[in-house]
């Protein structure tokens, strides 16, 4: 789906989202009111400049539009992998971006992420995955690493990884796997505005991805292990 079509479907009441290179920024009109829109397109690799720019926009919304919901549109292959980005401390820029999104949450902004293209790696962690709710349009592509590359790195034969992937959501790329793990809350299909309105209407909840992964059978240990560590007494007590 083109970005124009995506925005048209999300905001039938109109929007003022402009495109600056691979960055989307502006506002959309929904029945709930003005929505701040911040997004990425064309699978862009996020380097230091773009990470800083995204953080600027999050802080601007917190400062100038208290409480306004934020929709992040995710289409990124990951962080830019370059020597220069590492020399300049890209992990620090992405950490700052994640902290800015947390500030927005603490300040009462509901944050919804919609994966409309690709989502992977550091830039997905620092922006999309920091949302209160993560959704994806049908056909979105979520991954850590494709199986041939994983086979090369882990020295596990490709055929074996492919066979195991049929019975487990953990290994292979794919939207359905991220739904099973509880990471993606739901898949939106047309009309997208309905999905957005429903998400904006729901109250903010704490991070329940592990619990959803348990309910959906894709991640059975994350929630019970976290719970045990959070409440049990220590050895010797």
């Amino acid at each position: 789906m083109s970005v124009d079509e995506l925005l048209r479907q999300l905001f039938p009441g109109g929007h003022a989202v402009r495109r600056e290179g691979d960055l989307l920024v502006g506002t959309g009109r929904s029945p709930a009111g003005e929505i701040a829109v911040l997004g990425l397109c064309d699978g862009v690799d996020v380097g230091v400049e773009l990470a800083l720019r995204l953080a600027t926009e999050v802080l601007r919304v917190v400062r100038d539009h208290p409480g306004r919901p934020i929709l992040t549109l995710v289409d990124t292959r990951g962080q830019r992998m370059s020597k220069r980005d590492e020399v300049l401390g890209l992990n620090g820029y992405l950490g700052h971006l994640a902290a800015c999104v947390e500030l927005a949450r603490q300040a009462g902004h509901k944050i919804v992420a919609l994966v409309h293209g690709q989502a992977a790696s550091g830039s997905f962690l620092a922006l999309g995955m920091m949302a209160d709710e993560i959704h994806a349009v049908d056909g979105a592509s979520l991954s850590v690493m494709n199986l041939p590359a994983m086979s090369k790195v882990t020295k596990i034969p490709l055929e074996r990884l492919e066979r195991l992937s049929r019975g487990s959501p953990v290994l292979a790329p794919g939207l359905a796997n991220y739904v099973a793990l509880g990471c993606v809350r739901s898949i939106w299909s047309a009309p997208l505005a309905a999905g957005l309105e429903a998400a904006l209407a729901r109250p903010v909840e704490p991070d329940r991805r592990a619990r959803r992964g348990l309910e959906r059978g894709g991640r059975t240990l994350a929630e019970p292990v976290a719970r045990r560590v959070s409440v049990t007494t220590t050895h010797g007590e």
């Binding site: 230091v48 800083l52 953080a55 600027t56 802080l59 962080q79 992998m81 370059s82 020597k83 220069r84 590492e86 020399v87 300049l88 401390g89 890209l90 992990n91 620090g92 992405l94 950490g95 700052h96 994640a98 902290a99 947390e102 500030l103 603490q106 300040a107 790696s121 550091g122 962690l125 620092a126 920091m130 991954s143 850590v144 690493m145 790195v153 882990t154 195991l164 487990s168 959501p169 953990v170 290994l171 790329p173 796997n177 991220y178 793990l181 509880g182 991070d207 592990a210 240990l221 994350a222 292990v225 976290a226 719970r227 045990r228 560590v229 959070s230 409440v231 049990t232 220590t234 050895h235």
Partner: protein, 301 residues
Amino acid sequence: MTGPRRAGPSYREASARRRLAAILDEGSFGELLGPTERVTSPHLAALDLPVAFDDGVVVGTGLLGGQPVLGASQEGRFLGGAVGEVHGAKLTGLLRRALAERPAAVLLLLDTGGVRLQEANAGIVAVSEVMRAVLAVRAAGIPVLALVGGAWGCFGGMGIVARCCDGVLMSEEARMGISGPDVIEATRGVEELDASDRAMVWRTWGGKHRVLLGEADRLLEDSLPAFREAARQLVGRARPLTLAALEAEQAWLARRLADLGGSADALDAWRSAGVDEPERLPLLEPPAWSAAVAGARRVRP
């Protein structure tokens, strides 16, 4: 590695368990969900990989300078300290515990390549849950400190997590970043970066450059007492997660990018930051290094 006489045993060479026990007040560590509970990864057996009874991370409670803290320590010798479903859940559970117990600090002894590829999707979601939990703990006013002194350093998504913390302590020999040298060479080719160039790898990701950038707060010698003392000094000192604080950090990061953005190599960055004869920095011992970079160091607000 031969080096100057240390004030105590090496942090880098110690196991995860020993590191945590040595950072905390003697005898105060109480482990949560320890190896006797046999909670192991459910995904490794299918790949014929060995499991660890702690899934490569030790978590628990203790005291530091008499104050109650929570601590976690990643074992780099098990799958490179990488984060899988159970490993990540132990970290997230510890951070959730902090919200209820309100310790004086949470200490994260990070030694990790990032997401455990053998549990790829569960690993990245787990890293995200850790990241959100760290920030939730900070938002509650409880400081979270990252200690980076192990052989794996701190990379991938966990490199972002380290920078979501209130502070980062590093030894000179440790490394921190997001994309490591092998990953960059494999993805972009040897023309972009030659991972076999050891000197370049250390000056790009090593503790000296990270502290000069302000990405890490303190450069420590590689000893358990040095990490303990530095952590003790930071307990109870939270960097506020407020609009004013993050706007200050935004301005600081923007200024650094404007000043150093033309740097293709850490040496260029040191020169642009105002260090005389930057070529000598890798050879200087921490005290001499501190004096040499005093005017050039960026300090995180």
